[in-house]
């Protein structure tokens, strides 16, 4: 017999809404052409870690 239309709607509609939210939020910077300002002060990487990574050639 399979699932009813209402049952499929319960499964599919929220999932599609979730995917739509992901796409909208994920590309919001592209849509508006703007993104959060980020600089070294905000990234604030741990200095010792950066030194260790530099020694390994990973930074």
């Amino acid at each position: 017999m399979g699932l009813s239309g209402a049952a499929w709607a319960t499964l599919i509609i929220p999932t599609l809404l979730g995917i739509l939210t992901m796409l909208l939020y994920g590309y919001w910077d592209k849509i508006t052409g703007k993104e959060y300002y980020v600089d070294d002060e905000i990234l604030a990487y741990d200095e010792d870690l950066m030194e260790a990574l530099k020694k390994e050639g990973k930074a």
Binding site: M1, T10, T15, D29, K34, L49
Partner: protein, 538 residues
């Protein structure tokens, strides 16, 4: 013990041990030990976010709910999916930006700096909320790990708890945050594979979805109803009851700490939300259908299920080759461990960073602070082990309250502090204190998980208005309201308002595809030369 299952599990253990050893190289400071130096790869931060979020509930509790309730249980998946997305939209990038600006390691660290609280009350309240609920959570995860070991390997539950504690504590002590997030990536992989394989296997065994629904319609037609057979207001309350989890996501420290650790806040938008969201959709569909189809299989006599929550282990052991079953058991233990390790580290950070370092003002060398962190991890693990072995009643009352307690204690103040410049420390203190006390009283003493008219006195009347709606869901909005009112009655310092206005300024995306940092890293001459070359002007 089945040799195939043991082999699958030993491979998994080997991977964990290697990650713990590797991560040890990068655990030299408090920043590294508790937030990975704020330079955790976005894949690790986002998968760890989800692996930490979904505990044994995903592999045991949720399939069990789908087994018992049928299609209606899918509303919980809807709540979890939108809770995950809400975390990215409302919390993630902004919290990372503030965490970097304030060099915050813990959630109380951030809140104290953001609200400029010199009384230390926000930090103390934050640490208390984390300690009370997180330690209890860790104990519950240890117990769940013990039960899974017992089921998969035929050992006693207590031995299983001990093995869980030894494995997990070893890599948390050794490798700190890096070990936790990268083991979470492996564990997220195990969980994903398990939850893709199990429903497909179930579908082929039962003979398709049509056959499964036919069996259900004969034995339990309400299993095929979107609201479990409820209609009207009852259906709405049924849906709210499950979907209310959304607001709970905003205040879970073991989840939001992942955002504080990510290498770049902008990466939480893309690819962050896609990694988390896609993983969440796949595992929730998988867990739901494993339980849903498991019910049909049990009714058709294909599968023996002693306890609905054991439907996935039962499928693995009865229907799969033993070495693959070993990976499935590892997948279940992964779900438990990936949550427990994160909670253990967050609980320890509350003592080491918030209480010892900041409230008591003790500061030793970098290495010593990390070693104290390690000792505290061991101490919390021993406390949780004792609670898990003895089944402490108080601890289990706190476990039942933990999700709501963290949601109400941190969710409203975190959300408001990231989006509203007018929020004040007084609002934060009153809101967090109210959240902590009200959740312990309302959930642990008066109502339990949901409102009920059977509660004593005036609480019974209130319970009647919100019958069957989870307590934390209503209490979240009450706390939000309390913080807004107190904040409006008090005044925030000018400088924090200004900081808030400036910190989230948006800038045009670089058309070259380069980031501002990359552009600034070069001299003006180099940038001009690059531009000329790109436009073929020279």
């Amino acid at each position: 013990m089945n040799a195939g299952i043991a082999l699958g599990f030993l491979i998994y253990l080997g991977i964990l041990a290697y990650i713990g050893w590797w991560a040890n190289k990068y655990t030299k400071t408090e920043d590294q030990y508790f937030v990975g130096g704020r330079k955790v790869h976005v894949l690790a931060a986002t998968l760890s976010d989800k692996a930490s979020d979904f505990s044994g509930w995903l592999m045991l509790g949720y399939p069990g709910a789908a087994f018992k309730a049928g299609l209606g249980a899918f509303w919980a998946a809807i709540g979890c999916l939108f809770g995950t997305l809400a975390d990215y939209v409302l919390i993630g990038p902004r919290l990372r930006i503030y965490a970097g600006k304030f060099r915050a390691i813990t959630v109380p660290d951030y809140l104290e700096a953001r609200l400029k609280d010199d009384t230390k009350l926000i930090r103390i309240l934050g640490a208390l909320i984390i300690l009370i609920f997180m330690s209890a959570y860790v104990a519950a995860q240890f117990a769940a790990g013990g039960k899974t070991f017992a089921e998969g390997f035929g050992i006693s539950v207590n031995t299983g708890i001990l093995i869980t504690v030894i494995i997990l504590t070893a890599y948390v002590i050794t490798g700190g945050f890096f070990a936790v997030v990268w083991t979470d990536v492996v564990q997220a992989g195990f969980m994903l594979l398990t939850l893709i394989i199990m429903p497909l296997l179930a579908l082929s065994k039962i003979g398709g979805l049509g056959r499964a629904t036919e069996i259900m319609s004969q034995v339990e037609p309400s299993h095929l109803h979107p609201f479990g057979g409820a209609a009207g207001i009852a259906a709405l309350i049924f849906a709210i009851g499950y979907a209310s989890w959304i607001v709970g996501y905003l205040g879970q420290p073991h989840i939001v700490t992942r955002y504080m650790s990510v290498e770049d806040p902008r990466k939480l938008r893309r690819p962050g939300i896609f990694i988390s969201g896609t993983w969440t959709i796949i595992v929730l569909w998988g867990a739901f259908f494993a339980g849903f189809l498991g019910f049909a299989m049990a009714k058709a006599g294909i599968l023996t299920v002693s306890d609905p929550e054991r439907v996935i282990p039962a499928m693995a052991v009865e229907l799969m080759p033993s070495w693959i079953a070993g990976f499935v058991i590892a997948g279940i233990i992964s779900a438990v461990m990936s949550t427990a390790d994160s909670q253990l580290l967050v609980a320890s950070s509350a003592i080491t960073r918030d209480v010892y370092h900041k409230v008591l003002g003790k500061e030793l060398g970098k290495k010593q602070m990390v070693n104290i962190g390690r000792l505290v991890v061991l101490g919390v693990a021993i406390f949780a082990l004792y609670s898990a072995l003895t089944g402490s009643k108080v601890v289990y009352q706190m476990v039942a309250t933990a999700w709501g307690g963290l949601a109400v204690g941190f969710g409203p103040i975190l959300t408001l502090s990231l989006w509203w410049k007018r929020v004040t420390k007084e609002g934060g203190i009153v809101g967090m204190a109210y959240g902590l006390l009200s959740e312990v009283l309302l959930e642990a003493k008066i109502y339990g998980w949901a409102f009920t008219k059977d509660a004593p006195g005036i609480f019974g009347t209130i319970g009647g208005w919100f019958q069957d709606i989870p307590v934390f869901f209503i209490n979240f909005f009450v706390t939000l309201f309390v913080i807004i009112i107190v904040s409006l009655l008090t005044k925030p310092p000018e400088e924090i308002v200004k900081t808030h206005e400036n910190i989230f300024k948006k800038v045009p995306i670089q058309s070259s595809g380069k980031t501002i940092m990359e552009t600034r890293a070069k001299s003006q001459f180099e940038n001009v030369a690059e531009f000329v070359k790109a436009k073929s002007l020279a």
